[in-house]
Amino acid sequence: MIKAYILILVYVGKLEEVLESLRKIENIRSIAVTAGDYDIITKVSVESLEELLEVTDKIQLSGGIKRTTTSVIEKEIEL
């Protein structure tokens, strides 16, 4: 299992539209709208890097996306 954060910058006025699209994409485990360097932080769980590329592509093509940055999780500690 590969987990990654995909950090997203959105064009102004496109946030709701992007959120609607993201909520339909499989393998996205969480979506957070944030204030700061990024507009949206999503967490993704996939079986392979190829599948991660597919998810990233779907996000890129969902319209209203200015830029994405993918960070694969190497290790995780959580409650």
Binding site: S30, A32, L79
Partner: protein, 407 residues
Amino acid sequence: MRIRKKYLFYFLLISSSLIAATTTSIDSIISYFYISNPWVFGVSVFLVGMFITIFLSLLLSVPFRGKSIGSRIDPSFNRVRFLKREELGYHILAGMGNTVNTLGYFYIVSTFVDPSAVLPFFQVVILYLLIVESLSEKDAPTLAEVESSIIVTFGAIMASISLSGEVNVMAMLVIFLIMNPGWVLLAIYQRKLKLMRINEGHNDSINIRLWNVIFTTIFTSAIVLVYNKNYFFEAINAASMYYPWLSLTMGVTFFAYVLYIRALGLGKASISQAVKASTIIFVIPLSLLLSHYMNFSFSAGPTLFIIKIMGITLVVLGVATFALTDVRAYVFINAKGDQSIEDLMERIWHIRGVVAVSALAGKHDVLAKVRIRTLGKGYERVIRRLEGIDGIEKFSWQSVLKEWEEI
């Protein structure tokens, strides 16, 4: 389905409260019409409950469209399984907590004519949980949590207290020294079990409930056997005579607990308990209904009515305050060149309010997820602590405005 996590937390607890209110009413019917001795009732309900819980757990293990039926209630559930060695201690403590709490309840019911005059003080358990969490958990209560908990506690007492009964010192001692500590043991160790990682995934609430009922049945039977073995044999007889009613109450209770345990994995025990205090709201119409069939009066005098309305208002306000004062953030961290990332993760993990830490490949080295009650606490507890860590070159704080998580 992807929904906002805090909505899921409140949905689970309010559903659990509604089911628990129904169970309380079924218990009243059984106690009034069929099994009046509370010790006999206690053992018989657990004896039947153990079988019905095993049956329901096995039923929920049946696969349906690639997943078990139970995974629709708790996605972490796959099938019924044996205990892992690391769970055993927590299960024993949770079982002991449930036994002590239940026997305390039986004692109150059997000794005092009007338990409703003292049982509302059981709600004070929220404050016990706050104290225990402040000593044992990473995320100590904030002033907002303490205030909201007190509002809910006193609201729940006001909404459920009966003005017809006398307050008995002995009953109060049993509640404050036996029942409430028993419930604290149960809530804290069920939460620890839910947060445990089993087979690479989160522990599931269905197996936790199943094993808790098994341990509680063993402990309750043992204590009642020692106290009065005739009661134990009467309980076996009662279990065989009234098993449909006992199965009904324990079957319904099973779902109330499964939802409650799942919620314990999402939020602190004290806050879960405070939201669960909404049971007192749901139980009022059920009590009204039962008062038509059973010989007790559900007083509707103006004083009691006003007090109940005030209590319900306080509970709703307290729960809403919990829901609205939740601040989440992501902190992106870049480490200095000579810093071990694993070591840095460990140090960040020990900061209060940090609920997850991830080592990342890419632009940032570490991502910490923070959950606190106020932004001020974020500065005091998290940012000041991060600034004190040597291996951090820079970090940036991203406040979460809205969040959805897969359930």
